[in-house]
């Protein structure tokens, strides 16, 4: 569904921000992309939405090449995008107008627009907020409106480019909940983040380093590679860090990325003891 084939991209013609990236994301996957500053993760996200197109190799979304001018609007309508700063991406001052902005651009008829707006707002848990002012919302709510704006185009893919970075813990959790619900209904989710607790909830984690794919696999495989994560200026999930700390003290409770499973293991060990 999303295919990066040896994709390379450069802003200045010299340094490649993306350097022969090859990856394939299937329909219905929940993928987290991790990486430090300058690893190319935001550039990668913009390729999925055809905001950028590769200088080398190719990127295909739903079978359409992103360099193909005729497919650009199709790809953009199928790959909704949410950006980092909640204050920068809302176009209108009323929520309903903002959510309708995308489908309006696609030329969706008026009576259908109304349905799409209320359905999209319901999907992000903001039903009944149509007539509210966007300026009155919290950061987390603004990001949810931004998601609704993408959903109203009825996309198959949702790309979140560090959409949680500027939110407080409550806003982050709310956004994650929305993403998981959408994922359960079959939406493909590509999430760029540096929060480990979010990455731990994904089906798959891709780690970028200097424009290359440095690791690609399930959270349980990737997030335990402590040396790699530290080299890339990333945290290790708490459960994993504690597992290692216990190991250093001679206790092997396995390596866990989620606290729940570590807790169960500890209880098992303690009760056997």
């Amino acid at each position: 569904m999303i295919e990066f084939d040896n994709a390379g991209f450069t802003y200045d013609g010299e340094t490649f921000v993306l350097d022969s990236v090859t990856a394939r994301i299937e329909q219905g996957e929940f993928v987290c992309i991790l990486g430090g500053n300058g690893s190319g993760k935001s550039t990668l996200a913009k390729h999925v939405n055809a905001l950028l197109s590769p200088d080398e190799g190719s990127v295909r979304v739903l079978g359409h090449d992103t360099r193909d001018e005729d497919s650009v609007y199709f790809i953009r309508s199928q790959a909704g995008m949410v950006f980092q700063n909640p204050d920068d991406q809302l176009v209108a001052s009323l929520i309903e107008n903002d959510v309708a902005f995308g489908p309006e651009n696609l030329g969706v008829p008026t009576n259908e627009l109304r349905e799409r707006v209320s359905a999209a707002l319901a999907d992000v848990g903001l039903q009944g907020f149509e007539k509210r002012e966007t300026a009155a919302l919290s950061g987390g709510q603004k990001q949810r409106v931004a998601i609704a704006g993408a959903l109203a185009m009825e996309p198959a893919i949702l790309v979140l480019d560090e959409a949680t970075a500027m939110l407080d813990p409550r806003g982050r959790k709310g956004l994650m909940r929305v993403c998981r619900t959408l994922h359960e209904r079959g939406m493909t989710i590509v999430m760029i983040t540096h929060f480990m607790e979010e990455a731990a909830q994904a089906d798959r984690v891709i780690v970028l380093e200097g424009g290359h794919v440095a690791a690609d696999g399930t959270p349980a495989d990737v997030l335990v590679q402590a040396d790699l994560l530290r080299r890339l200026h990333l945290d290790v999930p708490f459960a994993c860090a504690l597992s290692f700390a216990l190991k250093r003290r001679g206790v092997d409770a396995g390596v866990h990325i989620e606290t729940t499973s570590l807790k169960e293991e500890l209880c098992r060990l303690l009760s056997r003891a």
Binding site: M81, Q89, L90, V91, A92, S93, N97, P109, T110, L113
Partner: protein, 264 residues
Amino acid sequence: MPDIAVLGRYWPGTSPVHRMDARMKLVLSLLVMAAAFAAQSFPGLAVCAAFVLGFFALAGIPAASALKSVAPLAFIVVLTALLNVLFVQDGKALFEWWIVRVTEGGLWQAAFIACRLLVLLLSMSLLTLTTPTLDITEAFEWTLGFLRPLGVPAHELGMMMGIALRFLPQFALELRTVHRAQASRGATFSKGRLRTLSALIVPLFTSAFRHADTLSAAMDARCYHGGVGRTRLNPLACTQLDARGAVAVALMLACVIASNFAFA
């Protein structure tokens, strides 16, 4: 978040004024402005002001908030009034000092111009307070539509205005934050020195550029490609309400013209 009444903010509501067609509101507020210019006497202006404030009341916006909404532009009113005080030299001299000579006629003229400007600003503010920005955008586009054959990018101009209005409240907040941050570093803005002023203005500019960058990407990402083929969630439609509004403004115009004759 504290309530800041700013010109350009939308005041949500369902009053008849809110429900009117944005195009009609735009045209009518232009007419009210024209009437304020046509008024040659205080009674004429008073009629205009009464109508504008009446519309504010109908829209459920308290008079104090209405006045507050134009407060950021009050300096224009004050400046124009001052210029009039200084340069209009009719009638009895009330006060003389060096080259400054304040006359009775000058004061009257200044007061008159100030009131006229205030009515103009209020009618502009009424439009933006009761109309969502994208509707203003479209009304603007429609109004400029007759210029399109001449190559005027009506849609783009309308969109620009809509976005400017959408970001006004945000810039007001950001400016306040920057102001407080620089005040925390001991800046006093009352002296108005260039360096202290640039400490306010440069951050505001960089913020505008930062916003512009993401906003344009976000609009691209949502398939924005100009006005061609765009549909609308709330297509503008004239109703009986608009007809009533038009009648009201027509009556006001008549009153103003009549008062021009009566008090000429």
